[in-house]
């Protein structure tokens, strides 16, 4: 291992901007129309920060889960708009960028305990889904590549479980709803479908119900109490002697 690698592991090097720019090269981006030069290879999110922006809105988990950083972009000389997450998408040269600070789509309030998973349930709560004109703009604007239009059509047909399945990876960024000509709030619709499925359609665990009853009857209280009072040496031995289910599975070469 070279000395340089060791240094990297011990304490990361603080790189200067010029070094990075020289090494990676730069691209020109237009942040809300203004031109900035940023190192190539940065995500849109890091590029904005490099240019001097500090996020309050438009930034959340920075890893593709929260939907806070939905971005609309266009490459110079192209007509088409692109949609993506600033934390996941890498900048390209001549990219025009803007982020959505907020999505004003209406959500219906309901009591999930009082609903029934009927064919008409979703349609009754979100009747506007019947106005879908099948333009597929929602699907094209989804940064997760979810078949958004397909799950809306499943919802229209009352196929709750299928709607829930197709929509499962939705991060609720709202880009679909912002683009829809029929004012459908796709991400709220699918949230309802998933809850209906999870609560009413998927079969429930009998093992859980049984164990919960045992716990409520105090079946494990003494066992745990004993462990809590055990002297350290004894519990350490008990811990290191315990049999690992995963180890057994690996021994067998599979599950």
């Amino acid at each position: 291992m070279t000395k340089k690698e060791q240094v990297l592991l011990e304490k990361p090097d603080v790189k200067k901007a010029e070094d990075v720019e020289k090494k990676a090269g730069t691209v020109e981006v237009f942040i809300m129309g203004k031109s900035y030069k940023v190192p190539a290879g940065l995500t849109i999110m890091k590029a904005l920060e490099y240019a001097g922006y500090r996020y309050i809105r438009g930034c959340g988990c920075r890893a593709g889960f929260c939907g806070a950083c939905s971005t609309i972009y266009r490459i110079e000389d192209e007509q088409k708009l692109g949609f993506d997450l600033a934390c996941q998408k890498v900048v390209e040269d001549k990219m025009y960028l803007v982020q959505l600070p907020f999505v004003p789509a209406a959500k219906v309030e309901y009591d999930i305990d009082k609903l029934e998973p009927k064919e008409s349930t979703i349609l009754e709560i979100y009747p506007e889904i019947a106005r879908c004109v099948s333009c597929n703009t929602c699907t094209k604007s989804c940064p997760q590549d979810i078949e958004v239009m397909k799950y809306i059509q499943r919802a229209v047909r009352g196929e709750i479980a299928k709607c829930a399945e197709i929509s499962f990876d939705c991060i609720q960024c709202g880009l679909c709803a912002m683009r829809c000509p029929a004012d459908i709030k796709h991400y709220h619709v699918s949230q309802l479908a998933r809850r209906l499925r999870g609560k009413y359609i998927d079969p429930k665990s009998k093992n859980l119900a049984k164990r919960l009853k045992e716990v409520e009857n105090g079946k494990y209280n003494d066992d745990i109490e004993k462990l809590m009072k055990m002297d350290k040496e004894k519990i350490m031995k008990l811990y290191s002697d315990r049999e690992l289910e995963a180890e057994k599975a690996l021994d067998l070469g599979g599950d």
Partner: protein, 546 residues
């Protein structure tokens, strides 16, 4: 554009491929306690000499903590009491919840269910409601519900994994309440992965003796949080977004009595008076302790630790951090982001650059991570074109073991993340290196989520004692649910009798005086609310990007 792996990395991948069959049938054994101890001492940052220093002020004076935290605890409180008009109360509530992530939202739901009226509850949060590490957890949540398991075994795993430093009564609450929580989730509508008969698919996690991990693909945290937040929205639980609490309020009786919110968009302070205050601010990965990149959310800056400490609460186990073994090391745009432990739970084996296995894939996280660092330090890691070291995690093994399509269906997030860079996780391994993931310790609480200051409760990652010196996989989602619920229930009981006296910020004057007397000279102010990544800071960490 990044397009798959460069040639020299492909050469190493060839070795991985050649030895795959052998590696899949090799017996893997976990380490003994002595072996674990040895490797941790040599390679884990918790045991390094230059990572920590002694705190010089406050109730925990003399304690050894990570230096980045000490810097903030020894900084001046960000609020100058002179700037706040306490004669004007903007919100007067029974329960103020600081943080709109998992713990805070669950606390609000159970405070309401336990009798606190909606308009007497207020969540104040830094970003949007639900912007939190809770949303990002991939792997799953533990609960001992399968026939061969028991809450006592879960307890033993929690306690041993935490190096026997946990508060036993908190570990007990975690193991026993787990069943209630999963049952509650079933009623909310969380879509857990199940077998055809409705039983949960139970997976193994590092340091767990039974397979008890419940998951929803590799979006488990998101699926749980979506349900919880939707429930809160349906009830219209009041939430102030982009209004982090920056300091707590105290009263003349020595109680915590609410907090000062700072509207980050209008730069106004809001005075929030409350009979009970729940600290649910989450973790501190964005402090990049020990210079690690992090998996954490943008807002994870440890604010709760700082403001609670200013008010006199004590801290536990902040001499440890959790580095997660499998942070992404390649390509650069995703360095530090998490690849879930569930990948190893489902059979992916860590391999060095020669394609050889070097560790049981499911050691507790600290031990597993230490072996990754060892491999890289001893020259058996791969170094990326931009200097980031890493070892392979052989993801294709999962499809071979469980059938084609498993990765695509059970690891939709991972497959999607790498597909953006033309890396197919079903065909090629991914490169990983430890990344800062979890704040093991924090503000000490008891079983009722009470801190040592009357009126101040805590739940979730901001608290200390539940996980001791190291948290196990699947216990953080569980933690925020178990203790969020308890915080809601016990604050509801507490506010029935609580009486708030005259509100003050005198504890800040006292803290400032303490800093002066200790002769600490600092230009820093805390809490910091957001990390600084502008300009060169966007690329300042070699490990972070370049």
């Amino acid at each position: 554009m990044i397009d798959g792996y460069p040639d020299y990395m492909m050469e190493s991948i060839k070795l991985v491929e050649e030895k795959r069959e052998r590696n899949m049938s090799t017996e893997a054994k976990s380490m003994s306690m002595e072996e674990r101890e040895k490797i941790l001492k040599k390679y884990h940052p918790d045991y390094m000499e230059n990572t920590k220093r002694k705190l010089r002020v406050g109730v925990d004076k003399g304690k050894l903590l990570y230096s980045g935290l000490v810097d903030l605890l020894e900084a001046k409180p960000v609020v100058d009491p002179k700037d706040v008009d306490l004669s004007k109360i903007d919100y007067d509530v029974d329960v103020l919840i600081i943080g709109g992530g998992g713990a805070g939202t669950v606390a609000s739901l159970f405070a309401y269910e336990s009798g606190v009226p909606l308009d007497r509850i207020l969540i104040a949060t830094k970003l949007r409601h639900g912007d939190a590490n809770s949303m990002m957890a991939q792997g799953g949540i533990q609960a001992a519900d399968s026939p061969g398991d028991s809450p006592a075994l879960h307890y033993l795993d929690i306690y041993g994994g935490g190096h026997f430093a946990n508060k036993p009564e908190l570990a007990r609450a975690l193991a026993l309440d787990a069943l209630k929580i999963i049952n509650w989730h079933e009623r909310l509508g969380v879509m857990y992965d199940r077998e055809d008969d409705g039983e949960f698919m139970e997976l193994s996690g590092g340091g767990t003796c039974r397979n008890r991990l419940h998951s929803a693909k590799d979006y488990t945290g998101m699926e749980i949080m979506r349900n919880i937040r939707d429930t809160a929205r349906n009830l219209e639980i009041p939430v102030l977004e982009f209004c982090p609490i920056v300091e707590l309020l105290t009263d003349d009786k020595g109680q915590v009595a609410g907090g000062i919110a700072f509207n980050m968009e209008t730069y106004e302070y809001h005075v929030i008076k409350a009979k009970a205050t729940v600290l649910a601010t989450g973790g501190s990965g964005r402090l990049h302790l020990s210079d690690y990149p992090t998996t954490n959310h943008y807002g994870a800056t440890g604010d709760g630790l700082i403001m609670a400490y200013h008010a006199g609460a004590n801290l536990l186990d902040l001499d440890t951090i959790q580095i997660h073994p499998t942070g992404d090391a390649y390509p650069e745009p995703i360095v530090g982001i998490l690849s879930t432990e569930k990948l190893r739970g489902q059979g992916a084996v860590p391999l060095n650059k020669n394609g050889d296995p070097f560790v049981f894939p499911l050691e507790p996280r600290d031990v597993e991570a230490a072996t990754f660092i060892r491999e890289c330090k001893e020259g058996r890691g791969i170094v990326t074109p931009t200097g980031m070291p890493g070892v392979w995690l052989d993801t294709p093994m999962i499809d071979i073991k469980h059938g084609e399509g498993t990765l695509e269906s059970k690891f939709a997030y991972e497959a999607r993340k790498f597909r953006r860079f033309d890396i197919d996780v079903t065909k090629h391994p991914i490169l990983v290196y430890p990344t800062l993931h979890y704040q093991n310790g924090g503000v000490e609480i008891n079983e009722k989520c009470e801190t040592r200051i009357p009126g101040l409760f805590g739940a979730g990652e901001v608290t200390g004692g539940v996980h001791g010196k190291n948290r196990l996989m699947g216990n953080s989602l569980l933690d925020y649910n178990v203790f969020g619920r308890r915080a809601g229930i016990y604050t509801a009981q507490y506010v029935k009798k609580a009486k708030v006296g005259k509100i003050t910020l005198k504890h800040l004057d006292k803290y400032n005086k303490m800093l002066e007397q200790t002769n600490i000279k600092t230009t820093k102010k805390a809490p910091i609310l957001l990390p600084e990544y502008r300009g060169e800071m966007a690329i300042s960490r070699a490990l972070d990007i370049f």
